[in-house]
Amino acid sequence: MKKTSIIYSFNTVKTAQAAKMIIESFGDQDLEALNAEDITGEKFLKNKNLILGVATWFDGELPNYWDEFIPELEELNLKGYKVALFGPGDQKNYPENFVDGIGILGSLLEERGAVIVGFTSAEGYKFEKSRALRGDKFMGLALDFENQASKNKERIRNWVEQLRKEFP
């Protein structure tokens, strides 16, 4: 597996906690952690394998740190990049926009030529709508710290195993 960047906001709680668990699960694999709060196009393009942490804010929005990067992202050529996304979501209190952030960011990255990897089954979750949903799969890993925290470890472990195969 090539050198991989893991980009998330270092100021967050749940997203950062998930990122640390992902880094641990990769074990010896060297992931380069970058802070999404000060991401630039140059930093973003550094490694061709990317793992992005993206929470969903309010009723289905990107967090500021990603939203403010979008105008720059819109001009990047991401052909040859493989991107995996993970994000926290609360399926019980926000069932109408569960992990929308994954879907919003994932779609933008696809438009720029990136290939999204790390799709996961939506089975085992109960929600109404999600922009992250493609068919019966999420465009990444959905982690529900509020309602299914006990499943996070296993979900991360399985996802990391999947990424090892899908990342070149």
Partner: protein, 680 residues
Amino acid sequence: MSQTSKYHIKKTDKETLGKWFRLLTLGRALDDRAPNYLKQAIGWSYHAPYAGHDGIQLAIGQVFEKNKDYLFPYYRDMLTALSAGMSATEIILNGISKATDPTSGGRHMSNHFSKREWNIETFSSCTGSHSLHAVGVARAIKKYKAEGVSICSMGESAVSEGYVYEAINGASRERLPVIFVFQDNGYGISVPKKDQTANRKVADNFSGFKNLKIFHCNGKDVFDSMNVLSEAKEYVKTTGNPAIVQANCVRIHSHSNSDRHELYRDDMERNYVAEYDPLAKFRRMLLRYKRFTSEELEAIENETREIIKEAHRTAMSAPDPDPKTVFDFLVPEAYTAARYPDGTHNHKGEPKKFIEALNETLKAEFRLNPDTFIWGQDIANKEKGGIFNVTKGMQKEFGIERVFNAPIAEDFIVGTANGMSRFSDKIRIVIEGAEFADYFWPAMEQLVNTSHEYWRSNGQFSPNITIRLASGGYIGGGLYHSQTIEGALTTLPGIRVVYPSFADDAAGLLRTSIRSKGTTVFLEPKALYNDPRAATPIPDDFEVPFGKARVRMEGDDLAIITYGNTTIFSLEAAEKLKKEHGVTTRVLDLRSLNPLDEEAIIDTVKRTGKVLVVHEDKVFGGFGGEVVSLINEKAFEYLDAPVKRVGSLFTPVGFNRALERTILPDTEKIYKAAEELLKY
């Protein structure tokens, strides 16, 4: 924001970005400063901070075109008002209630910003009620084929109000150019939106409404708000259909200065919303994408500080409203009935029924004035013209554009009349407020609102409406077809209430009502529509001024002061008194309850010394109590006996005729009461 968006951090010209930053900074500085006025006991006791709504409020003001569009803000819309062109001085003048406050001259509550000369409309504190006004003015925009759209802004919790659904349903059904903007900050004071609506995005509750397009945007983000609102306006202008823009906002502070959000929002939540400070985000974007330097932004920030200092100085030195002016602009100017200054005539001719008088007067006024409109439930369908056929033939003669049905939604009927009035002073609207006066209660919210408009706007806006209501009992109608509601209506300052008993007075008062500015509630004793006792000859041009009672019978021994159905009974009782006792009775028909002819009442007391006040409504709480009080205060020394009252019992009106007879006053009850009074 995407690369194809109209507004984009990389594409929008620097001048526009600078203007936006200046407005955002100025607005926020005012928003933060407003509570200080209360702390220093200067005023501004109500302030609903907008911080967190910055993107959408900037956008509303920017897409609004003065004198072409109509803007209906709500009490959190400070930045909307600034962005639409109001100055910092004007905002502070409203905040601290100065005489030069453009909204109301210090009469209306702070944080209710309007500027009528630009069509930034005056609005009530009654959340969401302006949605009906926005629909009403959009109806006029469409009928008069004018340019422009109506923009109505409100919080997401206002959408819980039933009349907002009536408004959106009406706009959708009539295909009217309205943009409803829902500024969703998640709370109605302390009530979270999960307690307001099943859909978190309340706009989605309207997804089944035909002809209505729903847009969503991030109301915290300047570019998303500008792009979506511009798109929505373009859609409304090109299709003529309404739209909803749901703007997701945050409320960074408490609901208002009387609220403490730390009582129901924890630190985490408050930090979370503060994290998304729209102004801070916009500033970061300007720097990140190198559209402005820090120095340039600081220069703008310094400039706005100076603007506010100057605005503060100017507003503080402005005069306070003069307490002597409290009666100014209470009731708009009435038509002067110059031909019949006391509202009487000597016309001889064939008597006409009450209902004919109404129908013919309406038609005559509609022929005279092309800017007249009438709507109501059941008002126009082929041969039918209202539940009692008062408007028969009107749609045929004047067409569906001027004479049309309304949905079974009384508040909508009144609220859209208020709104349509805003389009032009020339417009005169007649509405059947409800099928029966009994069903008018749902419209009371709009009536109260309408009654305030002229006073509240310091004379800038007069809703020119005649509200016709088929009133009273004696038809075996039971609890909900017998009510006479003048007792409640006359408690409202700012509207006129008239209640004729005879065909000629009905014609004369209706003509005067339609030609006048302001709102007149025109109560029709429906039992008399076809009653030959109420039929009279009527001059074609008859007019009755407001506040002029009419002596229907002269007499010296006793007086009966009355109106509506009971005028007929009182005259019959008077005849019987003459026949049985040889006494003469003066019967004074008030005709107009507000304004009230105090002079005629006092004169009547002076002439007779004994007074019976009679009306159909309940004695307890009825309008007669006001008449008696007036006599006690101003004519007590002329009384030879206590003033007696006759009216209905303090019960609802029963359906069985025996119950109805027991409850309502009639000739015999008046006669007996008069006999007792004569014996005193």
